[in-house]
Subunit: 457 residues, 2 copies
């Protein structure tokens, strides 16, 4: 084994660099890079500019690439053209963070013991910084690799500019393999790596029947009610209680999990009790652990995120609103085709309520990854080295649009080394990350680079 | 006929007092007395205090009565204990006024030619001030009547304190008859007086399944979705397209309109085209004029005003919200009993989704008025005198909670002399009132008081 990659040495590195790590994470978490909010465009850019200067201060070459939307940041620890290249993918944009459920200010970095609170701490700024610290360690110890960083700023809006941008700069971004660090373990007790991601197809259903609010006394009964019509439409699309999608053909291309996959799921440490606790759910649609896993990882969904329009305040304001919008998305699994789902949904809605205008947003197919071969083995080994247990290969319910683009454009295999935990509150208020995952993650990345260096040597 | 009550004289009075009238209306419209908004409590009180000083400046005795909620204002032009008393009911609280659809500031009084814009101009501050000017004229010409003003400040929230307050002060408020000026004509072409009002029963349906927003990628499929469940529930309660209520027993006590009533409706000047234009509707549930009138005046409804909770912003934010609230109300007609409807709705919801918490708000039974006898004849005559045509007696789709309370407590018959027009935008953005209705209304009230004086003399 290359010198300096022993557990003790890596633990010492993490201890020594902890305050530097926290300083860097604080700085980047406190820039509110909410990619979905147009008024935050400047903050997203400021995040990218800070990331470039950060990479440079770590001794990397770094560059900001313009896209049609938010920029992309690329950094490189270059060893030389004859060495293999590994690229770490993270994203530095974050989800919106409004509402009263935050106990601390979402864009203020708050440390409480070993826990770090703030929007983006676990998704995905904390893991990005963890990988950077792990990579610097490996570089300083001379691993025979080029280590690249590909940091996106449009992940939370479905990566609309990513594929075009990496295609236009495919030479700069060329790599032998990619490791994505933006996924969640099943439980703290055991590392987990996804071997597949659900896709996503978003929709907005808009119905306009008037121009302004009207009084339900003077017009109610004859007037159309766009909220009631959208409720009926949603109820026609999905069984609200079971989640079963009622649109004919919706499940036609779903590949059910194999027997082997089901066996792996049973071993992954998932418990319904923990799942409920981590997500603060009062009850679930189903109660059996395997059934829950099948539903969140291997089955598609039709989810309504909200109904905009209409009265939202206290008491009862007896208006008939002029329009309403249902905000909806479907999670997709192999082999569902987003374009086919858009077609199915549009024609179903047209049949049920022709006045409803459907706009499709966020197309992302599902992704099926690999769990065998040297790269997968290196991840397995690095996780075991850092966290004491081999990871289980499961699936991930969420979507990372960039994954498919990287496979397609860079033509190199993509693997996952995620560090987030269920209790970190992914996309939720009081999002957090913790020092155990950060310090373990640094060791895991350093060891992963060592393995890749030895593998290719 | 008593001197000074000729058409010319009353037209002259209106012309002479126009700027005074506009000044008073401006002053009261610019106090944002939104009774449903707790933070406006002070403004509602300020309105009541202004109303007292206004009545006093008109030579009336006036008093502010405290209630458990917003105050009540009572004013009196006293002729003496041996004269009959007529009470004019209006309300001085208003609907909320938010949103981008207002072309002028809602709480700024804007005059454009003969039209007055601002929240409350037509509902009901404009008619209240009109009645006051008409009453002052009659008083100054010595009509042998006591004229009282009963101005409520909780009408828009269903008059929760009104009945208790008038019961506690029944001696002060004693009256021989009440005339309510808070209703809308069918069209400008012909005055209309309601001979019945729909009742109202409000509800909030709340479903909580978690504590905070969750990511639909990590939890979607197994997690319950409270918005989807409420959509399903709404769709079970009502046919969104036709408006047909599906709750068994809902229509059991509905008294259908008589043949005579249907004949009157056919003559009232209602056209679907005007109704659509006045309310800016793109389409309606039905297309026949009589069918529209039946639905808005003689049939009950189940209306969803909005679904609170969930994502409301731009794009698609893929959350599963922790809770959602459907804001709902039913318009009621004779002989429906609000308590029975609450029972029906609660037990239906409990059967369909036992986790949904139903809270009932705004109970108001429907009201059936009289169209014959001397008081109705006086209204008929006064309307014809002021506007050139006898009014049709129709129904009103809206609810005025105070009407039933006054009949019950004051034990005196209630009639209607409304001045609002469909194009005034009742409860809608760009609410307005106009000088034709104000000046005609002053004449109608003055003439009404003359007739009452002669009738009792």
């Amino acid at each position: 084994m290359a010198t300096g990659f022993e557990r003790d040495a890596l633990e010492g590195y993490a201890r020594e660099k902890r305050s530097e790590y926290e300083g860097v994470l604080k700085k980047i978490v406190e820039i509110p890079s909410v990619s979905v909010e147009p008024e935050r465009k400047g903050e997203v850019r400021r995040t990218a500019e800070y990331a470039v200067s950060l990479l440079e201060s770590f001794g990397a070459k770094a560059k900001l690439y313009e896209t049609k939307g938010h920029p992309i940041v690329h950094g490189r620890f270059e060893r030389g053209p004859n060495y293999p290249t590994v690229t770490i993918y993270n994203h530095l944009d974050v989800q919106p963070a409004e509402g009263d459920d935050w106990k601390t200010k979402p864009f203020e970095f708050v440390r409480e013991g070993d826990r770090y609170f703030g929007r983006g701490t676990t998704d995905d700024k904390g893991p990005a910084m963890t990988a950077l610290f792990g990579a610097r360690y490996a570089k300083e110890r001379g691993v025979p690799l080029n280590i690249h960083f590909l940091w996106e700023l449009e992940e939370e809006i479905g990566s609309p500019s990513f594929e075009t941008a990496i295609r236009a700069n495919a030479e700069d971004f060329a790599t032998d393999t990619v490791v994505v660090s933006d996924t969640v373990w099943v439980s703290r007790a055991r590392p987990a790596c996804p071997a597949g991601l659900r896709g996503l197809q978003g929709f907005r259903f808009e119905l306009q029947t008037g121009e302004t609010d009207q009084h339900s006394g003077t017009a109610g009964g004859a007037a159309r009610n766009p909220v009631a019509e959208l409720c009926a439409l949603i109820a026609e699309c999905v069984d609200g209680k079971t989640g079963r999608v009622k649109i004919p053909g919706f499940y036609a291309d779903v590949v059910p999990p194999t027997k082997k996959e089901l066996e792996d799921l049973k071993k992954c440490g998932f418990t319904v009790k923990e799942f409920k606790k981590d997500h603060l759910f009062r009850s679930l649609r189903v109660h059996d652990a395997l059934e829950v896993m099948k539903r969140i990882w291997t089955m598609p969904t039709f989810e309504v995120h909200g109904i905009a329009g209409g009265y939202q305040g206290p008491g009862v304001k007896t208006i008939i609103p002029p329009k309403a919008t249902a905000i909806v998305s479907c999670r997709l699994v192999p082999d569902m085709d987003p374009k086919k789902i858009v077609k199915l949904v549009k024609s179903f809605v047209k049949k049920k309520n022709p006045d409803v205008v459907v706009s499709a947003e966020h197309e992302l197919p599902a992704y099926q990854g690999k769990t065998t071969g040297p790269y997968a083995d290196a991840i397995r080994g690095a996780m075991k080295f850092a966290f004491g247990k081999e990871p289980v290969f499961v699936r991930e319910g969420g979507s990372i649009g960039a994954v498919l683009s990287m496979e397609r454009v860079l033509k190199s295999p993509v693997y996952f080394l995620g560090l987030s935990l269920p209790e970190h509150g992914y996309h939720a208020p009081n999002e957090n990350y913790d020092w155990m995952q950060a310090s373990g993650g640094m060791a895991a990345f350093a060891d992963y680079f060592r393995r890749l260096g030895e593998m290719k040597a």
